[in-house]
């Protein structure tokens, strides 16, 4: 029974409708009591059924659960509060972007993989950098030893970035880059590489992760302390709103928080709280909310508990919309709209019976599409073992294609809306998130929460609890603690990185340093050093360094001299 806005009813109709409604509810209550007595008498598989987050799930959801709910909470897709989707037409106009995260060895090797993926119907690129790059070290730095090109591609300068996208038109393909600590530097390498291709930066589409708060909380690839790191991010908001209006200068990420152990509710609440923090930093620096908020994007994990994950994405959109409008006073609907990338849960994959992962990924991908994601990465079955092989990566992509073209799921928008269960879950998750926001506020905000280790402790406790549940058998993991196959040996082809990669990368840096204009290099670096001491926007300075082929570590080092380095507060 819904009351549509269009046909404005007269008062007597309303009164009649309401009394009918009352009658319906009391009928339902009576029937439910009877059902409950049947339920109580029956055998149950477990005493208590919990969601992945550990909240108790009722045996049955009915109209009663949402009898009091405000119909305005739902709305229509593309309309405030966006519970049903950020866009009016959703997958009827455009399917989610199938964006597989990839990168390994040198820029040249990864470039070949990108071309392969694009040829096979992938619609966007997603760059995985190696650990030295993520931490701001060049391939020839002593701390990079053994890690060059191993878990992603090594990019130490604009030259590497140029090679990474050689033959790939950056004005056509949207590129997402997973980089945080040194994001501002890699972003400038990317801009410089695009310029080299002759592309106008105003047409560039893509996303840079650039979410340092969750690095402090969960992922741990940081360089600078919070304040200068946040300044770099706000500088990018400012610069991008002018120069790359179609590019997302941040992807506020719950993924890593979840992978580190948080529950779905914690993931949602911590991520949105981080989002609010970025908004507040932007406002503090004098930016207008509607100048940068439309370019903020999100990134969530999609884990095993199917309905909880769907509800999480729906609740996220609603909370964000409300805050942006009511608390931060955004006027542009584009500022209210939460757009997100999703990835299936890496932690849910098992090394045992690794082929089962294909099935896990498929269900998770389905939840992401039912939750209304804008783009999706599906994990490869072998990712707990090593970097994915070509075959495993292809199956992962095919999983998305089957979902998109065979399952019929994208035919209608938000198909689960109105489900008693999904709507109740959505409401509950929203309520639980609000409680966490209040807690964060009493800590003094996100940064004090990080410095006191509050977030880290919450995440570690949840991780420990899940581990205990698995070890006690309370939580079933197929092939790990149930339905195991004795002492199976794990046989699966995995991709190995040749040790030659490191040598080639080092040789390349040596050659670069010989061929570039050194006086230009030191000039740009000292200009950057100066700028770091002032309030000046750093993007143009770093871009100048990128154009002059200063290396990642050279730039990082100059910045670190002024900004200092972050020290880890660890709590258990």
């Amino acid at each position: 029974m819904t009351i549509r806005e269009k046909d404005v009813p007269n008062i007597s109709e309303v009164v009649k409708a309401l009394s009918e409604r009352d009658q319906e509810i009391s009928d339902l209550k009576a029937k439910l009591l009877k059902w409950e007595s049947t339920y109580e008498r029956a055998n149950k598989r477990k005493a208590v059924f919990n969601s992945g987050s550990g909240t108790e799930i009722s045996p049955l959801y009915t109209d009663l659960d949402r009898a009091e709910a405000d119909p305005g909470l739902l709305g229509l897709p593309g309309n405030y509060p966006y519970t049903r989707g950020p866009y009016a037409t959703m997958y009827r106009s455009k399917l989610w972007t199938m964006r597989q995260f990839a990168g390994f060895a040198t820029a040249e090797d990864t470039n070949a993989r990108y071309k392969y993926l694009l040829d096979h119907g992938q619609t966007g690129l997603s760059v995985a950098f190696d650990f030295p790059t993520l931490m701001g070290f060049d391939s020839d730095h002593s701390r990079s030893l053994g890690e060059v090109g191993v878990c992603g591609v090594a990019v130490s300068s604009t030259l590497d970035m140029e090679e990474l996208f050689e033959g790939i038109p950056l004005d056509k393909v949207s590129v997402s880059m997973t980089i945080n600590g040194p994001a501002i530097i890699l972003f400038c390498f990317y801009i410089a590489a695009a310029e080299k291709q002759g592309v106008d930066t105003r047409v560039l589409r893509g996303t840079i992760q650039n979410d340092i708060l969750k690095e402090y909380q969960a992922q741990h690839a940081w360089i600078f302390p919070p304040n200068p790191a946040l300044r770099c991010i706000v500088d990018m908001f400012d610069w991008c709103s002018e120069n790359t209006p179609k590019y997302n200068p941040i992807s506020i990420s719950g993924y890593h928080i979840r992978e580190a152990g948080a529950t779905a509710v914690e993931e949602l609440a911590f991520t949105l709280a981080n989002g609010f923090e970025y908004v507040e930093k932007g406002l503090e620096s004098g930016l207008d909310i509607d100048s940068f908020a439309p370019q903020l994007s999100f990134f969530f994990d999609v884990h095993n508990d199917f309905f909880e994950e769907i509800a999480k994405l729906r609740a996220a959109r609603r909370i964000w919309a409300r805050r942006m409008r009511k608390v931060y006073g955004a006027k542009n609907p584009a500022s209210w709209r939460l757009r997100t990338h999703c990835q299936t849960a890496g932690v849910s994959l098992t090394a045992q019976q690794a082929e089962n992962n294909i099935v896990r990924v498929a269900y998770q991908a389905m939840a992401a599409s039912l939750g209304g994601t804008q783009s999706l990465h599906t994990n490869s079955m072998d990712e707990t073992l090593a970097l994915p092989t070509e075959k495993a990566a292809r199956i992962a992509l095919r999983t998305q294609q089957i979902l998109a073209y065979e399952s019929g799921i994208p035919n209608t928008i938000d198909p689960l809306a109105g489900s008693f269960y999904v709507e109740t879950l959505t409401d509950n998750i929203e309520r639980e998130a609000e409680i966490i926001f209040d807690e964060i506020e009493t800590l003094g905000g996100v940064v004090p929460g990080i410095e006191s280790g509050w977030f880290q402790q919450k995440i570690a406790h949840s991780a420990m609890r899940q581990q205990n549940e698995i070890e006690s058998g309370e939580r079933t993991v197929v092939g790990v603690n149930q339905f195991t196959e004795g002492s199976e040996s794990i046989e699966i082809d995995t991709l190995k990185i040749d040790k030659e990669v490191e040598k080639r990368q080092i040789a390349k840096i040596v050659a670069l340093k010989k061929s570039r204009d050194e006086s230009k290099v030191s000039e740009c670096l000292s200009a950057l050093h100066q700028a770091c001491r002032t309030d000046e926007n750093l993007v143009p300075k770093i871009l100048e360094c990128a154009r002059s082929y200063c290396t990642l570590f050279e730039i990082r080092d100059v910045m670190q001299e002024v900004f200092g380095s972050y020290k880890e507060p660890v709590f258990f």
Partner: protein, 353 residues
């Protein structure tokens, strides 16, 4: 237990390498003492043939106050002055499992591989008082190894910090604005032992209020009401002129200093090192150091005696024999635990000499 390995770590060998200044031998020596391995007292006796002269600073305060970060910053300062620094970080053992998670090194990464720094973590192993049973002996051992400075870090929550005061020359109590509520409870204990109060994380709201509260508590305790004291020294006591402070001390003894720091940015560290230095000057000049060392030594001798007496009495055949018999007497109502215990002590002291 592997025999060849046993001999390779024999105490004599450890002792020799200890005297030759090998850090690995100090490390093993600490384990010997910590585990109270048979003969550890002889080991300590042999190692302690040099005069103890390291300057000892203890840092205590609630968990999460930033003690380890302050220790790291102090260490950085002292090594920049050419000193060798030994750090002992004590954390509680879990009473349920007997295990412990010792994470203080995390904040000390910057100094961890400096050859002039030695860091050791230890668990309290069920001992009360914030220190492990052998912490003071380990500090002595580290002192003998030749560090110029010893920094001991312990968790203190209000009633248990007295032990550290007995082990060091200068006690620094570290507080944070968030610990405000618990201050009331711990105030009495902390007031007794603190030579210097640090309000760390001074950028947080509530830090000025905490400084004020602590200062009031100090003045209440000392029975003086320093009119204009805060005004004279400013919101944070700045130690520019130690002569001025000394003058104050001569009249009043040592008035605990209250300083603000921010271990994340390093703010206030210089002031802290100055405060420590002026305390050291006072404690030396006033004869207080001698007094404390004397007391420390006396307590140590008593503790060793106590441990030895307990151990011997537990091992004593006479005691055990009589004990087994007399238990029956207590059970049958012919004696009480008190009469038996007195009897046993008398017997033990007479016969087990």
């Amino acid at each position: 237990m592997d025999e060849s390995r046993l001999t390779s770590t024999s105490m004599n060998e450890v002792l020799e390498r200890f005297k030759a200044g090998k850090p690995a031998a100090l490390s093993r020596g600490i384990s010997i003492v910590e585990n109270q391995r048979d003969g550890f007292e002889a080991f300590l006796h042999a190692a302690m043939q040099t005069k103890l002269q390291g300057r000892r600073i203890g840092l205590t305060g609630p968990p999460g106050a930033g003690k380890s970060s302050l220790v790291a910053l102090l260490t950085e300062f002292y090594i920049s002055q050419g000193e060798r620094v030994g750090v002992l970080a004590v954390d509680p053992t879990s009473p349920q499992t007997g295990g412990a998670l010792l994470g203080d090194r995390i904040r000390m990464n910057d100094i961890a591989i400096d050859e002039n720094v030695f860091i050791r973590s230890m668990a309290t192993r069920g001992s009360l008082g914030g220190l492990a049973a052998t912490t003071k002996e380990i500090l002595d051992l580290m002192d003998c190894f030749g560090f110029d400075r010893l920094l001991a870090e312990t968790v203190g929550v209000g009633q248990t910090e007295f032990e550290i005061a007995r082990a060091v020359d200068t006690v620094v109590v570290v507080l944070v604005p968030e610990s405000g509520d618990s201050i009331q409870a711990m105030k009495a204990g902390l007031m007794e032992i603190a030579d210097i109060f640090i309000v760390n994380k001074a950028d947080r709201p509530g830090s000025d209020k905490l400084v004020k509260e602590v200062r009031q508590a100090i003045h209440l305790r000392s029975g003086h009401n320093f009119k204009g004291f805060a005004g004279h020294h400013g919101p944070v006591i700045e130690v520019h002129d130690t002569a001025e402070l000394n003058e104050l001390d001569d009249e009043l003894g040592w008035e605990p200093l209250v300083l603000k720091t921010n271990a994340l940015t390093g703010e206030g560290i210089q002031e802290l090192t100055q405060a420590i230095e002026s305390h050291e000057e006072w404690i030396q000049g006033s004869g207080e150091l001698q007094k404390r060392r004397k007391l420390r030594t006396e307590v140590r001798i008593r503790e060793v005696m106590h441990r030895e007496l307990v151990n011997r009495s537990i091992a004593s055949r006479t005691v055990n024999k009589i004990l087994t018999k007399r238990v029956e007497a207590v059970l049958s109502g012919h004696a009480t635990p008190y009469s038996v215990a007195m009897e046993l002590v008398d017997q033990f002291l007479e016969k087990d000499q």
